[in-house]
């Protein structure tokens, strides 16, 4: 009875997970999606406890669950929305570590009876599980360090980097093959694990901050695939399904991110973006027009349609709530305010949408690049806040530019462009932005949060006058 019950519980749980992701297709059903996902997880854990009967080492399991819960709850509630990319990277690291450790334990436990317990395909799955698990663990920690700005965001590169990485990976893969052929060779396992850990570090350090959305998506995919491989090791189809769902989700998101930057996977992983441009970015002296908050307020007030383009700088400055005030103020005056959101704005897929939603901006005002681009020519003011490369017209015109071909927001087609920026320093890609030198562009120099609140302060005063 019990084994059948467990299997049916697994099936229900897998169905719930699929529904959970399906309901994420719209904000109106997404909460339902989260609830059914939680239900699926609860059923799966219950099934695991039934299956494990008679269960040993219960205190170990219970304490681990208690500690995990005690750590997890505050993370979920205290974490500011601007730090969600870091949290996501951390949780990829945790998930991957768990898969790697379970794989390691399974290996050592089964290895004395390798001939029956570790047939070829199980060993292949185990090697894949631990390889992906360990490399995603350290890789995600590196990504988190970069996002938290503990580590430098610029790419860390050295000579023959790709050759070194490739060699290391080849050695690890070679040891993996050898372990599949001769599972009793336990000496190799620690070497294999250490190589995978080092490879994870080396894979991520050459990747720059602006590529983090893609990297996080790829690591998401790896973490899912390592859980999936664990499913093959344990002969558990629920793990295979859930891992495959996570793996395909990460894959789709990374493809979307790559397309949004007009780059390929290999280019993101091995291209060390930001290196080439250093030589091309010659600083020619060109003049820009700057404006005060008062002038900016005047222009916004007399506009009929305004499109705000938020970028990572906005997240850094924590300016989302000030933007909400600006949005409210302008909307009350009858100005039509929309937001144009580039797919790679922010540090993870969809990051800007969450920040805007956090500030209570209705989601029907948040438009994707393809939806908003047609509206720029009819728009009176485009206000760019903390975004740079995603608005650079060079992506359309300059074949020599490293961002050539990248789809951008057509901010330059608006009647007036205003850009809030700290200074004239180029963005992450290190490329000068032609937008800033156009006649219709006004540069608003200052901190995003400070400047927006100055504008908001000006607006009511002018109305009263």
């Amino acid at each position: 009875m019990a084994p059948h019950l467990v299997n049916y519980l697994y099936i229900i749980s897998a169905a719930f997970f699929i529904l959970s992701l399906k309901w994420m297709n719209s904000p109106s059903t997404s909460r339902r999606g989260v609830f059914i996902g939680e239900a699926g997880m609860l059923i799966a854990v219950t099934a695991a406890f039934i299956k494990a009967q008679p269960i040993y080492n219960l205190p170990w399991i219970v304490w681990a669950i208690v500690i995990g819960t005690v750590v997890g709850v505050p993370i979920a509630y205290i974490m500011p929305m601007t730090a969600v990319p870091q949290r996501t990277a951390l949780s990829h690291a945790c998930g991957a570590l768990a898969a790697a450790l379970v794989g390691t334990a399974e290996f050592y436990q089964r290895q004395p009876r390798a001939s029956t317990l570790l047939p070829g395909f199980v060993m292949v799955a185990l090697v894949v599980e631990t390889l992906l698990g360990f490399l995603t663990f350290t890789g995600s920690l590196m990504a988190m360090g970069k996002l938290q700005e503990v580590l430098p965001q610029r790419p860390i590169t050295y000579r023959n980097q790709n050759a070194v990485n490739f060699l290391l990976f080849a050695i690890a893969a070679g040891i993996g093959v050898r372990m599949v052929l001769v599972p009793t060779d336990t000496v190799l396992f620690p070497i294999f694990a250490v190589l995978a850990l080092i490879f994870g570090v080396l894979l991520i350090i050459p990747i720059g901050g602006a590529d983090m959305p893609t990297v996080i998506a790829i690591l998401n995919s790896y973490a899912g695939l390592s859980a999936c491989a664990m499913g093959f090791v344990l002969g558990n189809n629920l793990l295979v399904v859930a891992g495959a769902l996570d793996g395909s989700s990460g894959l789709i998101l990374s493809i979307i991110m790559c397309k949004a930057m007009n780059r390929s996977f290999t280019n993101v992983l091995f291209g060390a973006f930001g290196q080439v441009q250093a030589s091309t970015a010659k600083h020619e002296q060109r003049t820009v027009r700057s404006a005060s908050p008062e002038e900016a307020a005047q222009i916004l007030e007399s506009a009929q349609t305004v499109i705000i383009v938020p970028g990572y700088g906005l997240a850094v400055a924590q300016a989302q709530h000030k933007i909400r005030e600006l949005f409210d103020n302008l909307t009350r005056r009858g100005v039509d305010v929309k937001f144009g959101i580039h797919p790679v704005a922010g540090r993870m897929p969809g990051h800007m949408n969450v920040l805007m939603a956090e500030a209570d901006i209705p989601y029907d005002r948040l438009l994707e690049m393809d939806e908003i681009n047609g509206e720029f020519p009819q728009c009176d003011v485009a206000l760019v806040i903390g975004a740079n490369d995603v608005t650079n017209p060079k992506a359309r015109t300059d074949k020599g530019s490293p961002i050539y071909g990248m789809p951008i927001l057509d901010v330059d087609k608006a009647r007036t462009v205003m850009v809030i920026k700290r200074s004239m320093n180029p963005g992450f890609a290190g490329i000068d932005n032609d937008l800033y030198y156009m006649d219709k562009t006004l540069m608003l120099f200052g901190d995003a949060k400070g400047f927006v609140s100055e504008i908001v302060k000006e607006l009511p005063a002018r109305a009263a006058a």
């Binding site: 997970f17 699929i18 959970s20 992701l21 994420m24 297709n25 719209s26 904000p27 109106s28 997404s30 989260v34 939680e38 699926g40 997880m41 799966a44 695991a48 406890f49 494990a52 269960i55 040993y56 080492n57 170990w60 399991i61 304490w63 681990a64 995990g68 819960t69 750590v71 979920a76 969600v84 949780s91 998930g95 768990a98 898969a99 450790l101 379970v102 334990a105 436990q109 395909f121 973490a223 002969g235 793990l239 295979v240 859930a242 495959a244 769902l245 395909s248 989700s249 990460g250 789709i252 998101l253 969809g350 949408n353 939603a357 956090e358 209570d360 209705p362 989601y363 029907d364 948040l366």
Partner: protein, 98 residues
């Protein structure tokens, strides 16, 4: 009868296609919550970790590694689902809450 491996590959193939189709339809508005949700779901490896730790064959090494693994994935499950809920709650239609 197909072997476990063949069944596993079959299930993997189907799940991947289902995953690709479903995820493609997810609104870009929700890509961040999607990622934290899939992250919580892939913490399904908690099942493997519990079976490992709770087995009567568990060696001391298995118990220690299993303990760390359960702690790590339970953190993911709890914080993943809660923070996803916190995020999707924030997405409101216009004037919905005035």
């Amino acid at each position: 009868m197909p072997t476990d491996l063949e069944m596993g590959v079959f299930v993997f193939m189907l799940a991947t296609f289902v995953g690709l189709e479903i995820i493609r339809k997810v609104s870009p508005l929700l890509h961040t919550p999607l990622m934290s949700l899939t992250n919580a779901i892939s913490a399904i490896s908690v099942v493997g970790a519990i079976l490992l730790t709770g087995s009567k064959d568990a060696t001391f090494l298995s118990k220690v590694l299993g303990f760390i693994a359960i702690t790590a994935v339970v953190t993911n499950i709890v914080s993943g689902f809660l923070i996803t809920d916190r995020m999707v709650k924030m997405f409101k239609k216009r004037e919905a809450k005035k």
